[in-house]
Each structure stands twice: as structure tokens, then as C-alpha cells.
């Protein structure tokens, strides 16, 4: 049996710079969440199969009918161009639900007590969990655009714009995830997290520029759709991927959509990160 010593943390090495330490802790905890994800591969269904199924359904079932709504010469292919950026935003919003559910299930177990008793920043366990989501969101983007490519979707701009669209989508997803984290920490069960988040995500993603042109909607609804963050994300991605081909919402340019998306990313973070932290600290 090995001799184990219990003297004060003398065995600990020289401590690195403070600001990098917290980042490193978040990385360690993100890795923990990734390991957990890989142990339950069914958690990847929402970011892998779901966008494929939705693309197939909307493209083949609705694409013929909806393509005509996009103006003269409207076709199923034209609808695909319209659909891929929209579905990307919707899938991102939908796939944010699972982090709230996981957080809800996780926090009831003692392991968060352990994190709280360690000399790391309070927010770090939550930040780590959200950072781990990065890989799921990257999968969403790659699979949605990749499967769209198989169906005939083409990026009309350039590689840098594609990267910008991917980056913007993931940034929005990482911000939107904090809403789910907050709901996850507030709800009593993982099942109710799903219910509450669906109530938020469905209206947000359908009452937006995701699936049809905003001009086809009644005026009162257009007022909502035009401030809806999902509409901004969709228009921004459309503009970045399709350039001049993009059918943007009236009065919107790619630049304005990108700008408003960043405003929303910051706005959601400013509101929901503190809310999530408060819920986390209070949940003991």
C-alpha cells in the first residue's frame, strides 16, 4: 500500500496566472460534459438525425407547394435555398433544449456539491457545460449544410462567408443555451424543462422568417417576426451563404441582420447568464 500524505496543499505546483486558470477549469469541466455526452450517444439524435429528417420533410413534402410562394419561377430547388438557413436556426434553437434537461438532471446529483466545494469560480461548472455544447452545435451546422448540399444546396458566396455564417450560428447557439440553462435550473424535473422550452422554441422558430416569406403573414404577426431573434439569425445566414440570391425579409440587409443578431446574442447573455447564475447559487 502506498503512503498517502495529507499535509496542506504543499504538493500542488506553482499556480499559473489567475485569469487563465478559470478558463482551464471551464475546459476541464467541458471535457467532463463531453465524456458524458459520448456515453449516451442518443443525445446526438437532435443534432444529427433531426435536421436530416426535417430537411427531407420540408423539401419533399412542402417544398413543391412553398417554392411557388417565393416569386415567379419558384421551384422546389428555390425553396431549398430558402429552407437550409432557416432549418439551421431552428435546429440550433431546438438542440439547446437538452442542456437544460441535462443540467436539471445533473444538479440533483451530488457532483455539483463537489464543484461548489472546490476553489474554482462559481460560474465555471455552468460555463463548462455550455462550452461542451459547442461540439453539438458544430455538428448541427455541418450536418444541416452538408445534407442540404446533397439535396442540391450550394453556397453562392465564398468560403469566408461560409465560415462567418457557421461562426455566427454557433455564437447565437451558445448564447441561446443560457435560456435553457436557466429554465433547467428553475424547473423541478427534466421533463418540464422540455415542455417549457418547446413553448418558447416553437413560436420563435415558426413565427419567423424560417419557413415562409414574412410578407405573406398578417401585419400584427409581421411586427413580432421582425424583432424575433430567430428571424435575424436566419436572414443573416441567408445573406452570408447566398449573397445576392438571398431572399431576405423586406427592409433587411445582410449587414443589418448580422448586426441585430449580435445585439440579440449580447442581450440574451446579459439577461440570462445572471439569471442562470442566480438560480444556480440559490439551488442548493
Amino acid at each position: 500500500m502506498t503512503a498517502v500524505t495529507f499535509d496542506s496543499p504543499a504538493g500542488a505546483p506553482a499556480r499559473p496566472q489567475r485569469q487563465f486558470k478559470q478558463l482551464r477549469y471551464a475546459g476541464v469541466l467541458a471535457k467532463r460534459n463531453l465524456i458524458k455526452l459520448t456515453r449516451t450517444p442518443e443525445q446526438f439524435i437532435d443534432v444529427t438525425l433531426q435536421p436530416i429528417i426535417f430537411l427531407v420533410l420540408f423539401y419533399y413534402v412542402l417544398g413543391g407547394a412553398l417554392g411557388g410562394s417565393l416569386g415567379s419561377g419558384g421551384s422546389r430547388h428555390l425553396y431549398l435555398e430558402f429552407l437550409v438557413p432557416g432549418l439551421l436556426a431552428q435546429t440550433i434553437a431546438m438542440s439547446s433544449i437538452s442542456i437544460g434537461q441535462n443540467m436539471n438532471a445533473d444538479i440533483e446529483k451530488g457532483v455539483f456539491d463537489r464543484f461548489r466545494s472546490l476553489p474554482i469560480g462559481r460560474a465555471i461548472p455552468l460555463v463548462g457545460a455550455v462550452l461542451a455544447e459547442f461540439f453539438r452545435y458544430l455538428l448541427v451546422v455541418v450536418i444541416t449544410i452538408g445534407f442540404g448540399y446533397i439535396l442540391g444546396f450550394r453556397v453562392e458566396t465564398n468560403f469566408m462567408s461560409l465560415l462567418a455564417a457557421i461562426g455566427l450560428s454557433i455564437c447565437f447557439a451558445l448564447s441561446f443555451a443560457w435560456i435553457s440553462v436557466w429554465v433547467g435550473l428553475k424547473m423541478r424535473s427534466a421533463g418540464s424543462v422540455q415542455g417549457v422550452m418547446m413553448l418558447l422554441v416553437l413560436p420563435l422558430t415558426f413565427a419567423s422568417s424560417t419557413f415562409v416569406k414574412v410578407s405573406s403573414m398578417p401585419g400584427w404577426l409581421q411586427a413580432f417576426v421582425k424583432v424575433n431573434p430567430i428571424s435575424h439569425v436566419v436572414d443573416a445566414v441567408r445573406g452570408l451563404l447566398l449573397g445576392s440570391h438571398a431572399q431576405l425579409t423586406d427592409g433587411v440587409t445582410t449587414a443589418s441582420a448580422v448586426g441585430w443578431t449580435f445585439v440579440w446574442i449580447a442581450g440574451i447573455l446579459v439577461v440570462f447568464f445572471p439569471l442562470a447564475m442566480r438560480a444556480y447559487v440559490r439551488r442548493t
Partner: protein, 325 residues
């Protein structure tokens, strides 16, 4: 550093959860390098006290220091010195034993290599080397507890909080855990342990604080606490139930007090000391009363609790299914 230096010093801790007053002014003083047991039934406030001392909860009133550092204003520094093993094993079920410990090590600023070495060392110490690569979900209850305790020791804490470390373990595993606690002490750590097992506090602790309904109702050494409810007791049971009355009379003569009937023919009476034993034996022989049991003992902690609170704590506590607050 002096002998009387305190590792844990809590004064007037108050904490409420809504209407429930979990702590109503608890004082705790734990000397460095000792085991201190906080004993009480479910709902007494044990876990709340530990969570405050381990910086997981803020007290509504009162103050607490660990190694001289305030648990509220210097919480970060306190966290560098403590290890916590909660009431429910706080290991990550989806991670292997090694992954759990390495993760904690990295969060405590060990490099990956150091964290791995520390992990291997602790896994061996807790007899988990073979299960090191297995996901903790598949561990037995005892293995989880051991992994949990190992996780709380990764940072070589000088103060260790063990919140009901043996609740739910079978007796053999409980003894194993007691050995672990004794070894922690021999290495110089201070241990604060909560328990509802009276024999556990008796077996491990240098000092015991008894709490009930959020208040300290007694604080002493195990022996000192036993003396609170009087001196030694003589317990005798007649082999022939028909001679019970004769036995009662004889004991009353010897002790000068009315023996208490403990049931099934067992009689207990307070006596002055062990000098009385030869006298008892010779008188029993002279009266021709044969006995099945004859013992001299200090009151059990169970009896201490009964004297202090007027309720049979241990029996209640072991059947209670409510969650300790």
C-alpha cells in the same frame, strides 16, 4: 501551533429554509487533528451545519471560521483547505473512477500528470485500482462511497467534512470506513463527521456535539457525555423469571435505589463503581439466584440521547425516510 488550536470555530450559526428553522444558534469548536462527531437524528440540522462550514451555504446569522478563515468572506481560501464527502456520494456516474479523480485534481491545479499520479495513489489506497477504468455507475454502494471519499482527498485537505459517511453501508463496510477515518487522523487531518449512529460517534470521535432541532444540546467527550446521565450501571437478568422479584429486592439493597425494568427480566440499577461487583456475585450465590446476564457499563449514547432530549433518537432516526436538511 498549540495543542488547543481550533480548526473549526463556529459561533451562533442560524439558518432557515422558508419556515423551517434548520439551525437556531449552533456553536462548534473542533481542535486541530481531532475527530469531532456531530450527532443527531434526521432533520436535526447536521447537514446544514456542514454545508455552511464547507462554504456551500451562507448562514443567516452567526459566523464560522475554518483554519482561521471566514467561510463567507474568505470562502475561496477555505475551499483550498477542505474536503467534503456529502450524504449522497457525489461522484460523476458517467465517468470512470480515474476520470473522476483526475478531473478533481485538474480543478485543484494539478497538472494532468500529477492528477493521474494522485488518482492512482488514492484508488490504490481505497482498494479501487481494479475498478479504476470502470464507469462509476456500475460501482457498488460501498465502492461509490470510497471513490467519493477519495475525491474529497485529492487536494490533501487539512480539514475533512464527512456528512453521514456510513449511512446505508452494511456493518462490515462501516468498519472499513471507520478505519479510513482513523488513518486520516493519524496523518494529522481534522475530521468533522456527522452521524446518526451513536456507536459510530463513540467509536471515532474525540469530542461529540449532540444537536437536535437546530440547537446544540450537549458537547463533551464520549465518556464525559456518558457520565452526564449518572455513573456506571449494573445490568442483571435472572435465569429463572420466577426469581425476578427476589433479584429486584437484592439489587435495591445493594444499590440503595429502585432498579429499572428494562424488559424481558433485565434489571438495571445505578451503582457507585466496579468495587460493587464481587459483593453482587457473592450475594447472588448466597441467595441461590442464578443469572443469565451480569454486566457493569457506562450508559450507551442512546441512553444519553434519551436523557438529553426525552426522545429515543436512534430508533426514530434509523427508520425515518425524510431527507436531512
Amino acid at each position: 501551533m498549540t495543542e488547543t488550536e481550533l480548526s473549526i470555530e463556529a459561533t451562533g450559526l442560524v439558518k432557515s429554509f422558508g419556515e423551517t428553522r434548520a439551525l437556531r444558534g449552533v456553536d462548534l469548536h473542533v481542535r486541530k487533528g481531532t475527530v469531532h462527531a456531530v450527532l443527531g437524528p434526521n432533520g436535526a440540522g447536521k447537514t446544514t451545519a456542514v454545508r455552511i462550514l464547507a462554504t456551500l451555504l451562507r448562514p443567516d446569522g452567526g459566523s464560522a471560521r475554518v483554519n482561521g478563515l471566514d467561510v463567507v468572506s474568505q470562502a475561496g481560501k477555505v475551499r483550498e483547505m477542505i474536503g467534503l464527502t456529502g450524504q449522497f456520494a457525489s461522484v460523476d456516474e458517467d465517468l470512470t473512477g480515474t476520470q473522476n479523480l483526475v478531473m478533481i485534481g485538474q480543478l485543484l491545479d494539478l497538472t494532468k500528470k500529477e492528477a493521474r499520479a494522485r488518482s492512482a495513489e488514492l484508488l490504490e489506497w481505497f482498494d479501487l485500482t481494479e475498478a479504476a477504468g470502470k464507469v462509476a455507475k456500475h460501482y457498488s454502494g460501498g465502492m461509490r462511497r470510497r471513490l467519493d471519499l477519495a475525491a474529497s482527498l485529492v487536494g490533501r485537505p487539512s480539514v475533512i467534512f464527512l456528512d453521514e459517511p456510513t449511512t446505508g453501508l452494511d456493518p462490515a463496510k462501516r468498519e472499513d470506513m471507520w478505519d479510513v477515518v482513523r488513518r486520516l487522523i493519524s496523518d494529522g487531518s481534522t475530521v468533522l463527521l456527522t452521524t446518526q449512529y451513536l456507536e459510530e460517534a463513540d467509536a471515532l470521535a474525540d469530542e461529540i456535539t449532540v444537536i437536535d432541532h437546530g440547537r446544540v444540546i450537549a458537547h463533551d467527550s464520549p465518556n464525559g457525555l456518558k457520565r452526564v446521565v449518572g455513573g456506571q450501571r449494573l445490568t442483571v437478568r435472572a435465569a429463572d423469571p420466577a426469581r425476578e422479584d427476589d433479584l429486584r429486592e437484592l439489587l435495591a439493597q445493594i444499590a440503595g435505589a429502585v432498579p429499572a425494568d428494562e424488559g424481558r427480566g433485565t434489571l438495571t440499577v445505578p451503582v457507585d463503581g466496579e468495587d460493587v461487583l464481587p459483593d453482587v456475585v457473592s450475594r447472588l450465590r448466597a441467595s441461590g439466584i442464578s443469572v443469565e446476564e451480569l454486566s457493569l457499563h457506562l450508559p450507551s449514547l442512546d441512553e444519553v440521547f434519551f436523557t438529553l432530549t426525552g426522545t429515543r433518537s436512534a430508533g426514530d432516526a434509523r427508520t425515518a425516510s425524510e431527507v436531512t436538511v
